[in-house]
Symmetry: C2
DNA sequence: GCTTGACCTTCCGGTGACTGGAACCCTTAT
DNA sequence: ATAAGGGTTCCAGTCACCGGAAGGTCAAGC
């Protein structure tokens, strides 16, 4: 198969597949015309990577996962460790985003959003902490 | 103030501040020795940007927010629109990550994580959908 | 006056995982 | 012969910086 077909079947853009070859994730053969020739195994590999990427695994993780997949003597614990690590990274990211979201939602809630210039969002960004010093217990 | 002091007071690395100058977010003066000279306004601007960045706003958003901040005839609606847009982007990202997280957590749950090679995580990545064709209604 | 060390400068390259585009080659159909 | 629709390489750009090299500046101590 040429790169166009493999792109369609794997769901990956041709550009990405060329990139994956460049970094050694896949190693298609070459025809006499210089075109890449992919077989079903290449397709399988690419689909594997596409799936792993869609779960947020980095390229190096993909490499490690491919190695584990190829290793029949692997321990599932090693795979699980990778996955758990990835899960942890995702959780961290979600946590950060959630914190941003909460703050931002709060600011949005308190902004009138009309034609007047007064804006608690800008006040917050400008370092106005919202403490008004009215009640100093 | 030199860049070191401003870095400390703004919480931004000196590298970042130089970068912000390069892209026109801040425009400190220069001393005879070529050193950047920052004043309190520069500090305020940098702190503003730092806060906006911490809420996930991109550099261009920061520029827009700074412009709005400087514009006394601004409408808070414009600020709110920017913030809501950003909130939406964050929500999208959270949604994607949450979907990843759910899938990944499910896979991790089903993996024994022992010394045996059988691994539902790898099976999933390899395209085994989990459908076993046992019950074809 | 000289050295030391902390600070500052610019410039270049790298990050991650691609994406866009230019310039050119190959194949097939008309 | 030519045109369309593949394919190829290579270079630059993305985003928001970070690390490091090579060198200038400044204050303190000897």
């Amino acid at each position: 198969m040429n790169i166009g077909q493999i792109a369609e079947r794997s769901g990956l853009p041709a550009k990405t597949i060329r990139y994956y070859e460049e970094i050694g994730l896949v190693a298609p053969q070459r025809g006499d015309n210089g075109y890449r020739r992919f077989n079903e195994q290449d397709l399988h590999r690419l689909a594997f990577v596409a799936r792993a990427r869609s779960l947020g695994f980095g390229i190096d993780d993909c490499r490690a996962l491919l190695d584990l997949y190829a290793d029949r003597a692997r321990a599932s614990a090693d795979v699980k460790a990778l996955a758990r690590h990835q899960l942890q990274r995702i959780d961290e990211k979600i946590g950060e985003l959630q914190a941003m979201r909460d703050t931002l939602a709060d600011l949005v809630d308190h902004c009138a959003g009309d034609r007047r210039p007064d804006c608690p969002i800008l006040q917050d960004l400008a370092g106005d902490t919202g403490a008004q010093g009215l009640t100093v217990d």
